[in-house]
């Protein structure tokens, strides 16, 4: 070995030894805290989240400043993590035991939540002390959330626990450029029905031809188009949902839809489903050409550059339009087909309710937080009526806290609680292992492409749909079986728990969960087999 290469080898060796030593020291002597840390004698609480949309970090900053003013011995550190890396980041932090005291719960399943987060059920029965003097004073913390946290409890059917709270709600809106709408339609009145939204296509074409512009009626992108399809196509299956709901509860979940299709009782030949497909083709022609290949930022850019009259986006995007748009944006609910719409009204029951909206900004306190009570107090502070109102004003988002009004300049963001039963989607989203959904997306070009159509799509998809559905059904049944196995194990653990300290009600609830999952698996077994 020559001298330079020996020196190089030695240098590498020393480097490895030094880094290994440092890493070993870090791993072995890592503490989970326990006492004051950070600056001087102040206790540091860290909060990690993915909420980087406009106004959110500023909202957290303001809440942190306010809390630190009230509690000079506490320092709070905000750790915003980009959404693209969130999933890997949060799992690594939780598994490594280094997650922030308050950690976001986006994308975490029941096992991760149970393992790493403090159960909150008992604490939720007590009023939130930070609501003192406000409209929610004395109200149990649980009931200060719009749905009493039922949506979060439903995420944990096995443990039945609640491991976090949410701060905000999401829904979908049609945002429009007021100036462009006036230019294109000659009116300030935004579309309120699907027929009026459709008319925007001809109006935009006419405007483009007259002025040499290339405006699109709606700035579209793949993910947001999915939300839009999910909302509007369900208008065509409202009546069918009531008619076919297997337990007569006005719902038809994807697994039951798949069962009906595999039994030959329903299919894309069914008039309601055909109509939904026709609506999907029609809607697609309103969006930016090639929208299926575009992402959220592309659609937002198209709208902000004033290359589209409107955009279908989440309520979470409104702050971007206010901050970055050089024009005034109006907000309306997604225009629904009227019952007397000649093309798409036949199967409609009426504008569908949105429910309270989807929970957003879910946060919980990790089990290994050195200061769980302080972290919990800050979580209560964040979800207090006063702070939630400030969040709403700064972030322009809808609060998940009851009695908090939508942002002053955007009452149109408030969830539409009144409306008829929503129908079901026709693309098998969120079912099984996604085989049928993927097939649907792969064949979509035959439906919405320039030479496509409903007949071409149905012919294409029907070739492979039964097989895809059976594979999804097998995945569904396998998941149910895994859940049942876990629940059986949990039952044995509870029944052997020392000191008989398990609440008998809890054991009963577990039996019920086991039987429910077991019944679900057995009901699907026939369709899961080839």
């Amino acid at each position: 070995m020559s001298k330079p290469s020996a020196r190089k080898g030695l240098f590498g060796l020393v480097l490895v030894v030094v880094f290994f030593g440092l890493s070993a020291w870090h791993v072995l002597f890592r503490t989970d805290g326990g006492g004051p840390d950070g600056e001087g004698d102040r206790i540091t609480i860290r909060i990690g989240h993915w909420l980087m949309h406009a106004g959110m970090r500023e909202s957290f900053d303001e809440a942190i400043r306010e809390y630190e003013r009230l509690h000079p011995d506490v320092r709070i550190e905000q750790i915003p993590v980009p959404l693209r890396t969130w999933s890997a980041w949060v799992r690594t932090q939780l598994t490594g035991g280094t997650a922030p005291d308050i950690t976001g719960q986006l994308g975490l399943d029941e096992a991760m939540l149970s393992r790493h987060f403090l159960p909150l059920d008992r604490r939720l029965d007590e009023p939130n002390p930070h609501n003192q003097g406000g409209p929610l004073e004395g109200v149990p913390w649980r009931d200060t959330f719009t749905d009493g946290l039922a949506s979060l409890r439903a995420l944990n059917p096995n443990s039945g626990e609640i491991f976090g709270v949410y701060l905000q709600l999401n829904s979908l809106r049609l945002f429009y450029n007021k100036r462009l709408l006036r230019l294109v339609t000659g009116s300030d009145r935004p579309p309120s029905t699907y027929a009026e939204l459709r008319a925007l296509r001809a109006q935009t074409d006419h405007y483009n031809a007259a002025h040499g512009t290339a405006l699109a009626p709606i700035a579209g992108c793949g993910p947001y188009a999915q939300y839009l399809f999910q909302r509007l196509l369900a208008s065509q299956t409202q009546k069918l949902t009531i008619e076919l709901s297997p337990t007569r509860n006005l719902q038809l979940p994807p697994v039951d839809l798949a069962t009906l299709v595999l039994e030959g009782r329903l299919g894309y030949h069914t008039p309601e489903l055909r109509s939904a497909l026709a609506l999907q083709r029609d809607l697609s022609s309103l969006m930016t050409p090639g929208f299926t290949q575009l992402q959220r930022d592309d659609a937002l850019f198209t709208y902000l550059q004033q290359n589209a009259v409107a955009i279908v986006a989440g309520t979470w995007d409104y702050a971007v339009f206010v901050r970055d748009g050089d024009f005034e944006t109006g907000i309306v609910p997604i225009p629904y087909p009227d019952r007397d719409d000649p093309d798409f009204g036949q199967h409609v029951l009426g504008v569908a309710a949105e429910g309270a909206g989807g929970p957003e900004a879910m946060l919980g306190v990790v089990r290994n937080s050195p200061h769980p009570e302080i972290a919990l107090d800050f979580l209560r502070f964040l979800s207090s009526h006063r702070i939630a109102t400030r969040f709403t004003e700064l972030s322009k988002r809808i609060s998940g806290i009851a009695e908090v009004a939508p942002p002053g300049d955007a009452p149109g963001l408030a969830p539409q609680l009144h409306g008829e039963v929503p129908g079901f989607g026709v693309d098998f989203q969120n079912f099984g292992a996604g085989h049928a959904y993927t097939l649907f997306q792969r064949r979509l070009h035959t439906l919405i492409g320039p030479r496509g159509g409903v007949d071409a799509f149905v012919e294409e998809i029907n070739k492979d749909l039964p097989e895809a559905l059976r594979r999804d059904m097998a995945a569904h049944a396998a998941r149910a079986r895994r859940d049942i196995q876990g629940l059986d194990a949990r039952l044995g653990i509870m029944l052997s728990h020392p000191g008989n300290s398990i609440d008998p009600d809890e054991i009963e609830r577990l039996h019920e969960a086991r039987i429910l999952r077991h019944t679900d698996r057995l009901r699907r077994r026939d369709h899961a087999e080839p």
Partner: protein
Amino acid sequence: MPPTLVVRPRTLVAFALACACPLASAAGDVPVDPWEGALRFEFGPAVKELARLHDRSPDDPRVALGLASALLGVQPRTQANILEARSLLERVVATPPADSTFTLAARLLLGRIAEDHLIPSRPDEAKELYEALLRDHAGHPLADQAAVHLALLAAYPPADVPRPSSAELHARIDELRATVRTPEVLRELHALQGTLLIAENNLAAALPHLRAARAVGYRQPNRESEADLSIANIARELGERSVALEHYRAFLAARPRDARGTTVRRYVKELESADASNPGPDRP
């Protein structure tokens, strides 16, 4: 010439990484009560700790049941773990007294292992185990659970077993219902019969079963309000207005912001106005 030991950097890296694994593992080893750990889905460490306790007290049925249960939950699920769990449970069953919670739990879990843990599953063996448990200890909450599993096996038999006729099936579930005393088990049997009868489109026969189940009450999130809505819709279809109204109102009280609320309120309004204009036989 004697052989020279050459340590290459890559060898050292491999050595360091190999050392790092136990280090990281040691750092993460925080002692936790194994039962509490398992309840938080940490079955791996629970198995280790329970195995240690079991070695120390091999005749303690509580520890054996705990270890067997943790083995059923630990990932990856392996046939070896399941067989070990089964053998532990068999020893618990052999430990007197025969009517202890541990013994009955072990017997129920042996049936569950045969039906849902072993691959391929053994429904015949499970059926025998459930039947024996029910026969020996009917009325005990754990033994009564076996009745629900027997009813489910009858209602949804494996593909190679002929399906019973509707009359045979309901007679069998009626018979099981007569055997058990636990209200929650009676509820599940009624709920199952209600569901089967809806599928047969026999709504008039389904309704009393669904109401009997609902009267016991559910503990799973939202299940009670979903049952209210099912009962109300079926009652409405059958023209039983007061029943429909009672359960629609219960649904609305429990789920005021549900997306189905407006439709339900419309139904309530229609039923109330029908009540006012045409008092039916069931009007209170």
